[in-house]
Amino acid sequence: MKEFLPLIMEALQQDFILRGIVVGSLIAISSSFLGIFLVLKKHSMIGDGLAHVSFATVAIALLLNKSPLIISIPLVILSSFLILKLDEKADIHGDAAIGLISSLAIAVGVLISSISKGFNVDLFSYLFGSILVISKMDLILSIILSIIVILIICIFYNSLFAITYDEEFANVLGINSKFINYLISTLTSITVVLGIRIVGTMLISSMIIFPTVTALQVSNSFNSTILISSIVSIISVIMGTFISYIFNLPTGATIVIINGMFFLLFFLIRKLKNNN
């Protein structure tokens, strides 16, 4: 451990590492706040589907030479609405609707990247994430949008909770479940787009799913699940960033593997508790 301390201190001197930790931690909190609703409503795969959509939208942004964040957010939100509409109106189940939209989006992304030579390296950095590409503008936008996502979830927390536990009962209470479902889709879209900078389009859904599923192994209440998943996710981001710096590993993949180790640990704790 002693030998790594100077390397950790060195990492803390790097602007891009600090930017990565700040943005990553904010995304970790947003993902954990959203993750519980998505996982418990069995909508976890929407994060994965929207991440694939964001691959296409980043390709479009690079083709147009625009900021991927600004182009991707509205397009990914629109795609999430399309998934909900297909589920509601076209009698296509949610998982199939996600599959349709995400595979179509990947195809569009691949087509654009094949006809537009020159930005494939940039696009690759969005596939697997790279904290090196986080600009100051990204940092500011990520801070603002993450805070907005967290605030909106806090404001609608009780309605979100009621719908997640029992949508029919929530409707009897007069809660507009359709509005809440669109709200969750919008917030998930924003979080996914922000997260692809750090962990990439291939791995962002793991930031939504892993910390929540990890927390579910030991928590008894809704509040404690959100708290535990946020802490686990932030620790994974910080540890993942330092470990990737020290051992020269890809940051996104390292964060996801640490999340996986936390899950294994919490799963074993639950099993031990049950056996006792």
Partner: protein
């Protein structure tokens, strides 16, 4: 003279070409304990979901007495609620408090007074000790009491229950019906769906026997002596 809490007139409802409810008319009076019975697929759940505003559109008229039965004073225990995900990470207190959300305007945050209301209803239903327990770790009977507490925490005037005891054993079922009877004695109008008339007959004062249309509607004492009860039990008359 009792007030009508709900008046239903000539209600018709179809899914596509499949008519689920045909020409349904009845009134529920204040303080009634109405049992809705009928075979599977007879439209019982559809009827109360229409009354609760969960499905539509329909033909006909439904009127709630604004003073007694406005939407804010309805409690509901849905069908199958007991079988929800056992891993769901929520305490009894968190679940029961959601019953107060219909009374909240704008920002739906709970006050200290709300938590006092939750404690009071838990004490009343004898499950205060379960307040901080995870809902998924409770027995079927305890979950059903918690869901009854969620329905009752807002002090509704009308309580709808859709097959609330179908997953409970006979002893727990009897206890649950006794609690409902007590709630009814306190003045709450109860509308209860059951597929088993024998288990509810000693509690209800009225029966609505439904098989897509009303076969019988009236006091249970009349129903037990009527020819419709033979039809309910599938007994065919020789004459």
């Amino acid at each position: 003279m009792m007030n009508n809490v709900i008046t239903v007139e000539n209600l018709n409802f179809s899914f596509g070409k499949n008519q689920i409810l045909k020409d349904i008319s009845f009134q529920v009076e204040e303080g009634d304990y109405l049992g809705i019975v009928g075979p599977n697929g007879s439209g019982k759940t559809t009827l109360i979901k229409i009354l609760l505003g969960l499905i539509g559109p329909y033909e006909g008229k439904i009127r709630f007495n604004d003073e007694i039965g406005n939407k804010n004073s309805i409690g509901y225990v849905p069908q199958g609620a007991i079988k929800r995900d056992r891993l769901f990470p929520a305490t009894v207190e968190e679940i029961v408090a959601t019953g107060l959300l219909s009374q909240k305007k704008g920002m739906k945050f709970y006050s200290k007074e709300d938590y006092r209301k939750v404690e009071n209803i838990l004490k009343k239903l004898g499950i205060y000790g379960l307040k901080n327990r995870k809902i998924g770790n409770l027995s079927g009977g305890q979950i059903q009491r918690a869901l009854l507490a969620r329905a009752m925490v807002s002090k509704p005037n009308i309580l709808f229950l859709d097959e609330p005891t179908s997953a409970l054993d006979p002893k727990i079922r009897e206890d649950f019906y006794s609690i409902l009877k007590e709630i009814n004695r306190e003045g709450v109008t109860i509308i209860l769906i059951s597929h088993d008339i024998l288990s509810i007959k000693k509690y209800v004062n009225k029966i609505l026997y439904l098989n897509r249309e009303i076969i019988f509607y009236g006091p249970y004492d009349q129903f037990k002596n009527s020819k419709e009860i033979a039809q309910y039990f599938g007994i065919t008359s020789r004459d």
